[in-house]
């Protein structure tokens, strides 16, 4: 998809001082997007405001809550602390890309559904992206303690942690044959 409308995330007092726009190519959930974007636009805002991908949420905007977690080249990252320009050429997965095109849920999504692993749902996309990355990462041990530690960058203000943890264990069993 080619999108050439200028970014609007920042208002400049002095238009003459407006930094030049940057052309960025992002592959998101398998689809290539070309954006012309101001340098100070973070990936989270580009996803939400420019591309209509509102699954990733803005909780804190400072790397503290994990609601904005997406996968960049397979690794979980806070999209609020990453310029869209830094992601040029990267392969990005958001929560919108987890399910199969036919609508079949990803095992992590299915497990979250079965375990009722949310209340308000605001943190859920970030939780599922972190869980997906962790379950793909053989360096993270499959003990309760290390899963909890690896997930600690995702805050749930409703306190659904117990069900989130149980959902991750179920998804692990289905994906990796864990207990």
């Amino acid at each position: 998809m080619v999108d050439t409308t200028p970014a609007t995330a920042v208002q400049h007092a002095d238009p003459a001082a407006t930094p030049r726009l940057h052309d960025v190519e992002l592959t998101i959930n398998g689809q290539t997007h070309h954006l012309s974007i101001e340098p100070n636009v973070v990936l989270l805002d580009a996803l939400r405001e420019r591309l209509g991908l509102t699954g990733a949420k803005k909780g804190c905007d400072h790397g503290q809550c994990g609601a904005c977690t997406v996968l960049v080249d397979g690794r979980s990252m806070n999209s609020c602390l990453m310029l869209a320009s830094m992601a040029d050429g990267c392969d990005i997965t958001t929560v919108e890309g987890l399910a199969k095109p036919d609508g079949t849920l990803h095992p992590v999504q299915q497990a979250f559904l079965e375990h009722d692993a949310y209340q308000c749902g605001y943190c859920t996309a970030g939780q599922m992206m972190s869980a997906t990355a962790i379950l793909n990462d053989p360096s993270i041990e499959r003990t309760d303690a290390s899963i909890k530690d690896a997930m600690s960058g995702n805050i749930c203000r409703c306190g659904a942690y117990k069900n989130i943890h149980d959902a991750i264990k179920t998804a692990d069993a289905r994906l990796n044959g864990g207990e």
Partner: protein, 334 residues
């Protein structure tokens, strides 16, 4: 976020030349810089993205030292075989820091250069000699608990250095290699971070436009063991209240080449050299560890809300030394 220009040079000399042209900041992982740019605490007109410089390798040098590129991520460093095998203290310190997502993004040089977590520094309005030299320090008579130091403070600034990684590097011994407009130079790790003294705005030994290219870890002595203990308000994803990085070997029943560094309690990654001297050549015992731990906090200054860090820091030392020497020390400490 404030507006800035963005460039992504492909070579170190181009990055330095570009940086010199404006009020600039190097951009590595961005987890400190963008955080602080959003609240106007850092105000670059230009960011120079250094992710294209190829400084992301870890190599063992012929002399046994390990050279870590400035852009190696905290995750990649923590999980690297050389680090897990020869520097467990570094791997543990890195994995105790921040969150999975942040470690995937944060880099070695960025971690060395991270800014203090003092809430008065971050609020943008309180008197703060670090942010606004000469304005005073709101923390000294304020709520000075978790992110404040008891060692290396001055009457100008008491903010603790927040890094876990740097505490491990201080214990291991390291060299920071930089490149600048006047060429390359090496800075010993202990000399890199500066005490606040009368100029808390000056935090490190970099000259204008200098870029960190590598951090090289000293070779550990034969038979060395090492580990990191971090004590904090919750079990994960929290800065240290007190932490201890230790590396030593035990030969013929006595401690050799002890290295101890402290985090959370000091204004820079803190070598406890008095404690090291006390341990060297001695038979491990609980009494010895208590003496060394006390020596480490000689001259500490407690502030209204952080006096607990002195006994907590001593506990951290005693427990980590106990873990490394196989002594059971996790009992009540006087």
């Amino acid at each position: 976020m404030r507006a800035f220009d963005y460039t992504r040079p492909g070579a170190v000399d181009a990055a330095i030349a570009t940086h010199a042209r404006a009020n600039s900041a190097y951009l590595a992982g961005g987890t400190t810089l963008l955080d602080l740019a959003k609240i106007n605490i850092m105000q670059p007109d230009q960011v120079v993205d250094i992710n294209g410089l190829g400084l992301d390798r870890i190599e063992r040098l012929k002399d046994g030292r390990v050279q870590v590129g400035a852009l190696v991520t905290n995750t990649a460093l923590a999980r690297h075989e050389l680090i897990e095998t020869h520097y467990p203290v570094l791997s543990q310190a890195l994995l105790s820091g921040a969150s999975t997502q942040l470690r995937n993004k944060a880099t070695t040089a960025g971690n060395v250069m991270q800014r203090v977590r003092c809430p008065y520094f971050r609020d943008g309005t309180s008197p703060c000699n670090k942010r606004d030299p000469g304005s005073g320090c709101a923390a000294i008579g304020g709520v000075n608990r978790e992110t404040f130091a008891v060692l290396g403070t001055s009457d100008q600034c008491i903010a603790a250095h927040p890094s876990d990684m740097c505490v491990a590097m201080a214990a291991i011994g390291a060299t920071v290699s930089v490149m600048g407009p006047n060429g390359p130079r090496d800075i010993p790790f202990d000399a890199f971070h500066l005490l606040p003294g009368t100029s808390p705005a000056r935090e490190h030994a970099l000259e204008p436009d200098e870029l960190i290219t590598h951090v090289t870890l000293d070779a550990p002595p034969g038979g060395a063991r090492s580990g990191y203990l971090k004590l904090r308000d919750r079990a994960s994803y929290q800065f240290a209240l007190a932490s201890c990085a230790a590396q030593l070997s035990v030969e013929g029943g006595v401690i050799r080449a002890p290295r101890i560094a402290l985090g959370g309690v000091a204004t820079k990654p803190w070598r406890a050299t008095d404690a090291e001297r006390m341990l060297d050549g001695k038979v491990p015992s609980r009494a010895l560890f208590e003496q060394a731990a006390s020596a480490a906090f000689n001259g500490a200054t407690a502030y209204e809300h952080n006096a607990f860090k002195i006994p907590l820091g001593r506990h951290a030392i005693i427990a980590e030394l106990g873990a490394l020497t196989g002594l059971e020390t996790m009992q009540e400490v006087s």
